[in-house]
């Protein structure tokens, strides 16, 4: 049984466990509550709260998720009481002397983390805001001041916005949770960057992935298992196309959950994995769901529900539900719901999955043929403004009263000032504007002939709270326009022997006949007796000259054309 009571005003859940005692203090705050320009604030606070405890010999960790931040420890009763009290104290009495050090640690953590295959999914679905921020680097770290963190702590890290769970026999003696009062914050409403679903985007990773949004219920959880079985059977067992094929159901807030699935692919099998993946979704979407898959899963879960460890195992999801305001089912209620799940329920979930689906496909693939719309990579319109052409002539920047646009190959990129998520500013004058929809552009002054005031005007248009000062770049990191390559004409090949003979003969004849014509003309002018015959001879000799010189022009023209 899970018992629920309060410790210092914090809702607390307790369940017995066979193993060592564990506890986790969670707060309803995460990256989804942040803004891009100040992103990383929750993670930094979590690190600062744990930093002074760093040297003690505890099995502890902290985790900042999209909606929940958690401090967890395994240890003795005393360890747990000390740890939780220290976390609460540190959150509101920040070790400011470690401020810059922890920022550096976070930057290193970001730089050395192994990127997840599905890291990009949130930004494609939500943009550069709320639930989409999980995809972005922690841009805001450099701008955060101790006061920002204090304000963040007093807003979110309060007893009303917290839940504690303990897996153990009882509440540790002397446990205190010294947290200030506040309010419970609902999970931010997710924004959408997708004009329509089902949609798809292309990623550099060699995997096909699905992200869907479904209403939270027992059938949706079962569906994830059925989907995983189908993917595994179709892509691994029958097709031999994938090694990994998984599906996970994860509650997002009180009402909706994410359903995510992933299948990896060898480079030469990517199309087949995509095709097989789409066919699995189509099969479930038309309701061809195996009763045996449903029965197998229900059987497996029922067995697990019978084990002694089940109550402790349910503590994290119980705590999450308390934090986000979702109802918690008792074990008996859950068991009863599980038994009632039918193939028709799963079909209903499959349709929900399909209608909200965002598919990630490997580079070089598309999914429009299967009815998935391409997620936008460009803005619909360019904004009017003063135009600057790039030095290489391939793009155009426009600074206008309402926003900034870049017009280049592939369509416009536009960020209206009022829909800016962040303005990244480098000391050398470069700027990156990122729109709330995730579309943005880099403005490199070295690549455009900008008016000197342009960047300053842009800075003035965007509120200071959206600005992020970036560290100076190494000179070699600043782009330079590609030098204009002079187009060299290919060298002329030498004349062939026939052409040489032609040129020589024609030249000699020209000199001879032309000389005669010249002499005749001069003679005709100086002689008073020049009659019609003489003048006729003059004209004739010039015509002859023109004829004998013609081969020279013809040979040269032919030679140039055949270069």
């Amino acid at each position: 049984m899970i018992q629920q009571f309060e410790v210092d005003g914090v809702p607390t859940l307790l369940a017995p466990t066979d193993g060592p005692m564990q506890a986790a203090l969670s707060f309803r705050v995460g990256t989804a509550d942040e803004t891009l320009a100040r992103s990383g604030i929750t993670h930094l606070l979590e690190h600062l709260a744990l930093a002074p405890i760093g040297l003690a010999d505890y099995h502890f960790n902290g985790a900042t998720g999209p909606a929940v931040t958690r401090f967890q420890l395994q240890g003795s009763e005393q360890d747990i009481a000390d740890f939780l009290a220290a976390v609460c104290r540190n959150l509101h009495d920040l070790p400011v002397q470690r401020f810059d050090l922890e920022k550096e640690i976070l930057r290193t953590e970001w730089g050395s983390r192994s990127p997840g295959v599905m890291d990009a999914v949130p930004l494609w679905r939500h943009g550069a805001r709320d639930h989409g921020l999980a995809s972005y680097p922690e841009f805001g770290l450099s701008m955060l001041k101790p006061d920002d963190l204090r304000a963040w702590a007093s807003r979110y890290f309060t007893r009303e916005n917290a839940v504690l769970w303990i897996a153990g026999a009882q509440v540790p003696a002397g446990l205190r949770l010294p947290l200030p009062g506040g309010t419970r914050h609902p999970v931010p409403t997710p924004s959408s960057a997708l004009p329509s679903t089902p949609a798809y985007f292309t990623s550099g990773s060699r995997a096909v992935a699905l992200d869907a949004v479904v209403r939270r219920d027992t059938a949706a959880g079962v569906f994830a298992e059925v989907l995983e079985r189908e993917l595994f059977r179709s892509l691994r067992q029958e097709g031999g196309l994938s090694y990994t094929a998984t599906a996970v159901y994860e509650p997002r807030d009180h009402e909706y959950a994410s359903l995510r699935a992933l299948a990896d692919a060898l480079p030469e099998k990517q199309w087949a994995v995509l095709g097989g993946f789409a066919d699995v979704l189509a099969k479930l979407n038309v309701g061809r769901i195996e009763q045996s898959d449903l029965d197998a899963h229900v059987g497996k879960v029922s067995d697990a529900l019978g084990s002694a460890a089940v109550h402790a195992a349910r503590l994290p999801s119980f705590a999450f539900n308390l934090l986000v305001g979702a109802p918690n089912l008792s074990l008996e209620e859950y068991r009863a719901e599980l038994k009632q799940v039918t193939v028709a329920d799963l079909h209903r979930v499959a349709e929900e999955v399909m209608s909200s689906a965002l598919l990630m496909v490997p580079e070089g693939c598309r999914a429009d043929w299967a009815g998935f719309a391409e997620a936008p990579t460009r803005s619909t319109d360019a904004l009017p403004g003063t135009s600057y052409t790039s030095i290489d002539g391939n793009g155009e920047l426009r600074f206008g009263p309402d926003g900034v646009s870049y017009l280049g190959p592939g369509g416009p990129l536009s960020v209206p000032y009022i829909e800016t998520a962040a303005l990244l500013a480098w000391p050398d004058g470069a700027r990156q504007v990122i729109g709330l929809d995730g579309i943005g552009m880099r403005i490199e002054p070295t690549l455009f002939q900008l008016h000197p005031d342009t960047v300053r005007l842009l800075d003035d248009r965007i509120p200071a709270r959206l600005r992020v000062d970036m560290p100076a770049r190494a000179p070699e990191a600043i782009p330079v326009p590609a030098p204009v390559q002079p187009v060299a004409k290919p060298p002329l090949r030498p004349y062939g022997w026939l052409a040489v003979v032609g040129l020589v003969l024609s030249g000699l004849a020209t000199v001879g006949v032309g000389g005669f014509a010249l002499l005749m003309t001069l003679g005709a002018f100086v002689t008073e007796e020049a009659d019609g015959f003489i003048w006729g001879l003059v004209v004739f000799s010039w015509i002859l000259t023109a004829i004998v010189v013609l081969p020279i022009f013809l040979i040269r023209r032919h030679h140039r054309r055949s270069r």
Binding site: L241, E268, Q270, W271, L274, G275, K283, R288
Partner: protein
């Protein structure tokens, strides 16, 4: 027109093949009577099906398909797919009978053929952007209908066959074409129309390789019972490669090179020369393809035997690769009879 997918519809007449000019002996006998290219002449069911579809008589259409095997269904759908102006009728049937395989597959096949007519069979660089956009839009429509059919009826082989054609037109990778064929072959391991579709995709013009094409053709032929039609795959693959040549002489030289010649002889022994060879669906295309290969190889006697077995019936087979299919068929036939005896 005959039953092989590689023959009649514009679907597979879009190859990037070289046009080869064949020269003829001036001392030819009097022209033969023109052969009958109407597939209805060889298969009365085709005539009835086309009449039923044109007359919007769905019960009659259904009756013609009732209880037929996958090969028959594929050939019948193929022969219906180029009928003009039956899309609206088929849409109304699909709306009345949602989830049924036959009307949806017929509709999808018509959409593919309509799309391919817009694309034309010209080389890609001679097809405009708008033509490609429309072509792809038709194919996407067809593909989504077929995805639904195969999701509901994974054993409906003809829908998988057409999904091989959409995969080709929509530029999907080789691995996806192979996966679709594997899904088809799971239910019909010797389904020749599907094998002919995949063979096209395995050719270099659709992103494959000669090695893959020949290997697949040989494997299918060897796996199928002797006396069947499957030898035509080996000949088709060789003709595809031969017709990439710049001159008829080179094409002939390729076909007469020892391993190729041997391969074609073996293919003939296993099919058109086999005592068990039957004139079932697609036989016109099989004999026509062999006749063309023998003609290009200068084996006029062997060619004449195939033309003679065709009687007064004609087949586009692969003759369209050389120009107008009807004209080329007749030229090859006349030359075979003139030089190879029997008529």
């Amino acid at each position: 027109m005959d039953g092989c997918r590689s023959d009649p519809s514009p679907v597979l007449r879009h190859g990037t093949h070289a046009v080869i000019v064949i020269t003829y002996d001036p001392a030819m006998p009097a022209p033969l009577p023109a052969p009958d290219f109407d597939p209805g002449a060889a298969f009365p069911e085709v005539k009835r099906l086309r009449a039923a579809l044109t007359g919007a008589d769905w019960p009659a259409v259904e009756q013609l398909f009732d209880g037929r095997d996958a090969t028959t269904v594929s050939h019948l759908v193929n022969h219906a797919s180029d009928l003009p102006e039956i899309e609206d009728f088929l849409r109304s049937v699909v709306a009345r009978q949602p989830g049924e395989a036959l009307p949806a597959t017929l509709l999808a096949a018509c959409l593919v053929v309509t799309g391919w007519k817009i694309r034309t069979d010209k080389r890609a660089n001679q097809v405009s952007r708008e033509q490609f956009d429309q072509f792809h839009a038709y194919l996407r429509q067809a593909e989504q209908i077929l995805i639904d059919v195969t999701a509901r009826h994974p054993d409906y082989v003809t829908a998988w066959d057409w999904r091989l054609t959409t995969a080709m037109g929509l530029g999907m990778g080789q691995s996806e074409a192979r996966r679709r064929y594997d899904r088809l072959a799971r239910h019909e391991p010797h389904h020749l129309p599907g094998q002919q579709s995949l063979l096209q995709k395995l050719c270099p013009k659709w992103g494959g390789s000669w090695d893959a094409a020949h290997t697949f053709a040989r494997e299918c032929m060897n796996a199928a019972p002797e006396g069947g039609h499957h030898g035509v795959l080996v000949v088709t693959a060789h003709l595809e490669q031969a017709l990439e040549s710049d001159t008829p002489r080179q094409a002939g030289e390729y076909l007469l090179s020892m391993p190729v010649w041997q391969g074609i002889q073996e293919a003939a022994r296993r099919s058109v020369w086999h005592p068990g060879f039957r004139h079932g669906w697609g036989w016109l295309g099989v004999r026509g393809t062999f006749a063309m290969a023998f003609g290009l190889m200068g084996d006029h006697k062997a060619a004449a035997a195939q033309f003679s077995a065709l009687g007064n019936l004609g087949s586009d087979a692969m003759f369209g690769y050389l120009g107008d299919a009807t004209e080329q068929f007749q030229k090859f036939r006349a030359e075979a009879y003139a030089k190879g005896g029997a008529r």
